[in-house]
Every structure is written in C-alpha cells, then in structure tokens.
C-alpha cells in the first residue's frame, strides 16, 4: 500500500459547475501526478507537480488547474466542468521516473 488516497471516489455533477478532486499521500514523494483514463485513450497526463508550488502541464491540461500547497496534497480543479471531462481520474506519486504508485481513482460524471 503506497499510502495514497483520493477523494471523492465518485462524483456526479452538472455542466458548468466547479469540481475539485483531492489527492493525499503519506509517502513524502516529491512528484505527484494527475491522469485521466478513458476507453480508447488509455492513461493521459493532465498535470504534475515536482514540489510544493511547482507544477507543470501534461498532454491534456486544457480545462484543468492544479495546486500543491503542501507536500502531501495535490488538488485538481475543473473550473467549469464539461461532459468531455467525464472520466476516471487517477492520482499517482513517484520519484521522477516511470515507477509510479497510483490511487484508487475518482470516477467523475458530468451531466
């Protein structure tokens, strides 16, 4: 168990509403990542963080923002949710290589 938790695990919301997903780790890893997983697309990186207040964009960052004010917490925010953001979101932690530890996922449905 890599000591990583995501919340909420399930959420249904309406188009245009803001949504925040939280990732919390107890492993003190420097790197934290947000991925989305969709059928036919696999896992795609949204944003990642390489330290407190240090974040960068991934390949599908449009419509998403992130914040990391503490080592253990990494927040993903959808400012105005759209139906195309219906997905399963995974948080991952790691040391900067491809060896990642993933959370259990957050299933988001945007109606």
């Amino acid at each position: 168990d890599a000591g990583i938790t995501q919340s909420p695990r399930h959420k249904v919301t309406e188009t245009g509403t803001p949504v925040t997903l939280r990732c919390h780790q107890t492993e003190n890893h420097r790197y934290m990542y947000w991925y989305r997983q969709d059928p036919g697309h696999g896992l795609r990186l949204i944003h990642y963080s390489y330290g407190v207040k240090d974040t960068d964009k991934g390949e599908v960052s449009d419509g998403y923002s992130v914040s990391r004010s503490k080592t253990e917490d990494f927040l993903l925010t959808l400012e105005s949710a759209t139906s195309s953001q219906t997905s399963v979101y995974f948080c991952a932690i790691g040391g900067g290589s491809g060896e990642l530890f993933f959370g259990e996922g957050s299933r988001l449905t945007v109606l």
């Binding site: 036919g40 896992l43 795609r44 990186l45 491809g98 990642l100 996922g105």
Partner: protein, 109 residues
C-alpha cells in the same frame, strides 16, 4: 510522434496456456520501460522496470523482456487470478512518460 502500442488489445487464455503480450515503441532515447497491472475499478499497480535491451525481470508467472524496439510480457501457465489489464509505459529521455492502451487478459479455469 512518440508512440507506444500494445498488442493484442484483448487475450483469452485457458488456465495453464502460456502466451505473451507485446509493447512496441517508435522512438529512441529510452530511459525505461515499465509494466503495470490494473484490476477493474482499481489504479494501476507497478510490476517491472526495464532499462536496457536484453534485460529480463521475473515475478511469479510473469517475465518481462526488452529489445531495442519492444518489450514482451510472458505469462507462463497463467491462473484465473492473472486476469487483468496489463499496461506498459515508456519513459523518454525528454522526461515524458507515455502509456500504451493496455492488453486485457482473461484466463478461464
């Protein structure tokens, strides 16, 4: 364009029937190739890291191998509990990590 392709998309085996999953990549400058297992409703779980051609790693019934352009995940005498989606990911020299779309394995008793 950097690309990671896994084949087949789905694989059905009888218990004890050995087979291999493939992960091919198109760009040089590999930093590492990673295999993950994902069970339904769960996050991916790290299995192996391979860094150079010729390298092999083993864990129970699984063996991962690496050449210059592809990796294989060999499954020997699989059991139903090996049923899962297997993902590979490639870490480029640029720092990018790209996942393949996965192979869904079903092992029937």
């Amino acid at each position: 364009e950097d690309q990671v392709t896994q084949s087949p998309e789905a694989l059905r085996l009888q218990e004890g029937e050995s087979s291999s999953l493939n992960c091919s990549y198109t760009v040089s400058g590999l930093r590492g190739l990673f295999w993950y297992r994902q069970d339904p409703g769960k996050g991916p779980e790290f299995l192996f890291t391979l860094y150079s051609a010729g390298e092999e790693k083993e864990k129970e019934r699984l063996k991962a191998t690496l050449t210059k352009k592809e990796s294989f995940l060999h499954i020997t005498a699989p059991k139903p509990e090996d049923s899962a989606t297997y993902l590979c990911a490639v870490h480029w020299h640029t720092g990018k990590l790209i996942f393949g779309q996965g192979t869904t394995l079903q092992v029937k008793p």
